[in-house]
Subunit: 407 residues, 2 copies
């Protein structure tokens, strides 16, 4: 029997208990053993829960019980989640987590601690919720150079952008709707300012390139500046706007990671991912383009991913950690200034003087142009951030929108 | 050093040699060991190849070399691929394969042989080419009941259907184009009659439900009857037509597996998978809906999947087989007659007398109707095959098209 402790009995924690219970016989026949939830750590009591008798308030009860071999951390937040995870690993207990903040901030140290103590640290649920993506990245791409990863990593903002597109609504209106539906928090900053996606893309970048970048060090732009005008014009041009976490390794070996809204052509499978769904597109030299799609959040999907990690460890407790991440230094990071993409721009054009010819003179190759209501919207050819900034300096027009194209 | 033998030096075999060579240092640092291609079995010689000195024509050279611990079978066809695989497993050598015919026909026996001899039998490349889907199904869904799997499993037919839709071309024209491009064989039956997809869906059904069904025992309908009229009318209604392998477990525990063209609404992510790409949609009770997307065929993607299996074994040679498939009996199979779906029908209507009201009288709820050119096209509500057959018997109209709706 594998005795596990759950840290946190909120949405994911209670979902994990539910999955382990509901599909118990299936799980037992798979691992040839039983999973027993011995403790659940939470500040609250849950007298009505069938797990009421497992609730403990003191982490030391778990830490000092040698029977507990696996701890599932689903508390959220950096502390004490990190501290408890570290202590558990040092006590020779495996740790699995759904906590992207802890993985993105302390991943290197926790992986090292796990290795030093002969236990495992897994985090499938930290990115993409119920989508199996971390384990495939670790198991199926090892004969591949990963050229780039592009992901819709935040369900809340994808829901909002879908609603803006489909119903022509303004940002504030869809934010209120998302809050009413429980998709967005009362303080929605982590979602709408791109911070949640930033944590996830640095985890994917570390899996792809071995360098863990601090989420604070990457270019992060949320969706707060996406206007209904931009959404409408992008739709008219046949594109979607999505919040994308992007990472790639450039020719000299440096890694770029960033989060920003992107204009996506219909030929890119990410453009069709709507509502709260997530998708992660991986470009490799051998397997080509692959994409993983599914529910990026939610109680049971996220819990299902936590349980997949628990079962992986139950089956393979002695498996060696193959991840050896190092902290990215400033020298490891490709500068955002050199990043090349097409650009979707909406400029003021009250006099209607800016037409395709004028734009061509100012910005070079132009893909599409729509003039309307005192504005001009267009898509430029590929150019670096630096080049674009220079060109924008030379115009006296107001830049209403700037969204990078995803090729 | 892990000494491997490749069986077959065609597209996938030579791709496997290429992947193992091109990304050698990456592979070595991952497994902490070297992979050495000791032999390549082929009937032909390849004097110009850098692997010319590894070519052998007699399988016994490989079988009798105790240094060879792993055999990658990429010959295609049932024999001698099956015979060589069985002999290799009996000799205590691991086997990986890209050969769906062998897995779909002899999977039970080969898995049992592997287990009996303490070695592994893996087949990631047999379904979905370069898409990691078999390993995720084995590793990430074990706390889930798989409710259904729907897959675009054949790139050739998806290319053809995409071209028919986008360019309004007829079946014969796109078949010739696909043959010219090398996507379709000179004898294209395995692709266009759905046999290739049938082999793949029975493998996925076995992974989901533990019963291996003979591909000959499942309802299999190819795309040969898809007319440009059907494609055009489906497009007008906002749908796509895709060749779908479908499997589900019905309430009494019996398994349904089938291959047929399906009418797919744009809300289903499979509808946006175009060209030669494949996609596999998995519906589960806990993780919800997930989809795996990528290149379903091609030299390097398929080879990349073969190499992923080789590396899995190099890392975990002692891992126990968790698959215990049994052969599906007639009692295990859900009858096609009871299968319920909506139906897209095109009937002759030279007199124009069939309108929505007439259809409602004959078929009940009707979703969409298009009358044109002496025909009437419409989508029925959900009804079983049996019910539909009864209703169609009562009409004197010619049935030009019948395509099931995928919900």
């Amino acid at each position: 029997m594998v005795h596990v402790a759950l840290l946190g009995f909120g949405t994911v924690g209670s979902g994990t208990a539910e999955v382990l219970t509901a599909n118990q016989s299936m799980i037992e026949s798979y691992i040839g053993d039983q999973i027993h939830i011995k403790y659940i750590l939470d500040l609250r009591d849950f007298p009505e829960s069938p797990f009421a008798d497992r609730i403990v308030h003191d982490f030391n009860v778990i830490l000092n019980d040698p029977e507990v071999s696996l701890v599932a951390e689903m508390m959220g937040g950096a502390h004490p989640a990190y501290d408890f995870s570290k202590a558990a690993l040092e006590a020779g207990k495996h740790v699995v987590t759904s906590n992207k903040e802890v993985v993105a901030t302390f991943g290197i140290e926790l992986l090292e601690t796990a290795t030093a103590h002969g236990v495992r640290y897994l985090f499938e649920a930290s990115v993409g919720g119920g989508i199996p993506v971390i384990r495939p990245l670790m198991n199926d791409f090892n004969s591949n150079s990963i050229l780039a990863i592009d992901g819709i990593l935040n369900g809340t903002t994808n829901y909002m952008l879908t609603k803006m597109k489909d119903e022509g609504l303004a940002f504030d209106t869809v934010l209120r709707d998302a809050q009413k539906k429980g998709y967005a928090e009362r303080n929605p900053d982590a979602d709408i300012k791109g911070k949640d996606a930033a944590r996830k893309i640095v985890i994917l970048a570390a899996l792809a390139y071995g360098k863990l970048i601090s989420p604070e060090d990457i270019y992060t732009e949320g969706i707060t500046e996406i206007s209904d005008m931009a959404t409408t014009l992008a739709t008219q041009m046949g594109y979607s706007i999505k919040l994308i976490g992007h990472t790639e390794r450039i020719a000299d070996g440096r890694v770029l990671a960033m989060v920003s809204p992107r204009l996506i052509p219909p030929s890119n499978p990410l453009s069709h991912i709507t509502d709260v769904f997530n998708g992660i597109l991986v470009e490799t030299d051998m397997l080509g383009t692959t994409m993983f799609y599914g529910r990026g959040a939610g109680k049971l999907p996220t819990a299902g991913a936590v349980v997949a990690d628990i079962l992986d460890i139950a089956r393979r407790p002695a498996e060696k950690n193959t991840l050896s991440w190092v902290a990215a230094t400033a020298d490891d990071l490709a500068p955002m200034d050199d990043y090349v993409s097409g650009h979707f721009l909406i400029l003021s054009n009250p006099d209607g003087k800016i037409d395709r010819d004028v734009l061509r003179g100012q910005f070079g190759e132009i893909k599409q142009v729509i003039c309307s209501d005192g504005t001009v919207a267009f898509i430029t050819g590929a150019m670096s951030e630096k080049e674009l900034a220079k060109k924008l300096e030379q115009t006296d027009r107001i830049v209403f929108s700037h969204i990078r194209l995803l090729g």
